[in-house]
Amino acid sequence: MKRAVRLLHAGRLRPLPALALVLTLVAGGFAAWAGQDWYRAAHDEQAEYAAQRDAALSAGEQAVQNLNTLDHRELKRGLDLWESSTTGELHEQLASGRDEFTAQVKEAKTVSTARVLSGAVTELDDRAGRARVLVALRVTVEAADGAKSDKDSRMLGELTRTDGRWKLSALGQAPVGGTSTG
């Protein structure tokens, strides 16, 4: 009887710290696992790539829309937007043709409004900072007499990342039947 009590007494003292230690170790194991899981999630290369893809696409869609939107009453603002949406060769083309274009649009008195129907990235080189996008566009042109006409455009754009921002470096329409329509 006495013996049993003593054993119990001795047994009670030992398992408690042991249990606590086991629990701590288990918690430590979980913490280590969760920690490295979190680290991996935060430094996932695929996620980084996906983020670049989405950044390129949204910048591309916006730039394509910008370049197909122009109001003859707000030419300066519109054309400034064109230039800020582009880079490289396309940017130079737009800048050099600006005066001529301004005169044309002022004469035609048109208002073009573009809406992106859909867009997707076809290629993405996130190291080189280059991407290719398809943007399905619907452009509504309002002529001087108020007549409106819709036209769908199958745009192909090339984007270049400059200073961390994606900008259009080339833009054209997908050729039809092997010949380009513009």
């Binding site: 006495k2 013996r3 003593r6 054993l7 001795a10 030992r14 408690l16 710290p17 606590a20 230690l21 629990l23 701590t24 918690a27 430590g28 979980f30 913490a31 696992w33 969760a34 920690g35 899981d37 979190w38 991996r40 999630a41 935060a42 996932d44 695929q46 996620a47 790539y49 996906a50 983020a51 893809r53 989405d54 129907l117 859909s118 867009g119 997707a120 990235v121 076809t122 993405l124 996008v133 398809l134 399905a136 619907r138 769908d152 199958r154 192909l156 997908a174 050729p175 039809v176 039947g177 329509t181």
Partner: protein, 247 residues
């Protein structure tokens, strides 16, 4: 006198024996000494110190450890809570990062799947939008083969006019996908943007229907763009919806 002494000795011996089983756990090095001292009565007198010791030690031991053990226990508990808390928090962070919409979209990040989808969609669109008046069954077969859900009706509506006109003109309509890009892949669902050229060659019948003046022997090309929703089923990608952007 001798009885009392004998009784005391017996009691002491019993006490010594009783403390033994508990001893190994705490002080294993002491046990062999005591075992050696057993049997010989002469050792009983030095054994006195041993037998007298345990109760003293029992009382002595907890005193320093009682002041030491709770902090250790407390420390372990605190550490457990801290580590457990961190584990939970880090797990939540990781899950939060993973559930970001850009990550669930594996277009381009999963290159193999992306090109598989592009390839199958291009083939499907080629078949679904091509029509030969001489072989009308091919289109029905393609529809049965490649379409699912509401795409069945959408395709039927889209092609009804084309079909009727092609039959009338004895035309062959050929659709070729020129560009395509995967917008989104979310598990077994995906959406693809497709640019296609549609050529129609009339081989006879009434010519010069609206917009097809040139469709005599030369093919006329029409530019088409559409978004195609696909679902993965039985190892294949089936078209589940067609979006021609309201055209």
């Amino acid at each position: 006198m001798s009885t009392t002494r004998h009784h005391i000795n017996r009691q002491r011996r019993r006490q010594a024996r009783e403390t033994r089983p508990a001893a190994p756990a705490g002080h294993p090095e002491r046990t062999p000494v005591r075992t050696a001292g057993r049997g010989t009565t002469a050792v009983l007198s030095p054994g006195d110190t041993v037998t007298a010791d345990p109760p003293a030690a029992e009382e002595e031991k907890p005193t320093p450890s009682r002041s030491r053990r709770p902090p250790v226990l407390l420390l372990l508990c605190a550490l457990t809570v801290l580590l457990g808390g961190f584990a939970g928090w880090a797990h939540a962070e990781a899950e939060g990062l993973r559930s970001e919409p850009e990550r669930s979209n594996t277009a381009l990040t999963d290159l193999a799947r992306t090109s598989e989808i592009k390839g199958q969609v291009a083939k499907a669109v080629d078949r679904l939008f091509s029509y030969d008046h001489a072989d009308p069954g091919a289109l029905d077969e393609a529809a049965k083969d490649l379409l699912t859900g509401k795409a069945v009706d959408q395709h039927h509506d889209l092609l009804a006019d084309v079909r009727a006109r092609a039959d009338e003109q004895k035309a062959v309509i050929t659709t070729t996908v020129t560009e395509s890009a995967v917008e989104r892949i979310d598990g077994d669902r995906a959406r693809v943007l497709v640019y296609a050229d549609q050529s129609s060659v009339a081989t006879g019948g009434k010519k010069s229907k609206e917009g097809e003046e040139a469709a005599q022997d030369e093919g006329v090309y029409a530019a088409a763009m559409l978004a195609v929703d696909v679902v993965h089923r039985d190892g294949r990608w089936l078209v589940s919806a067609l979006d021609t952007f309201g055209r």
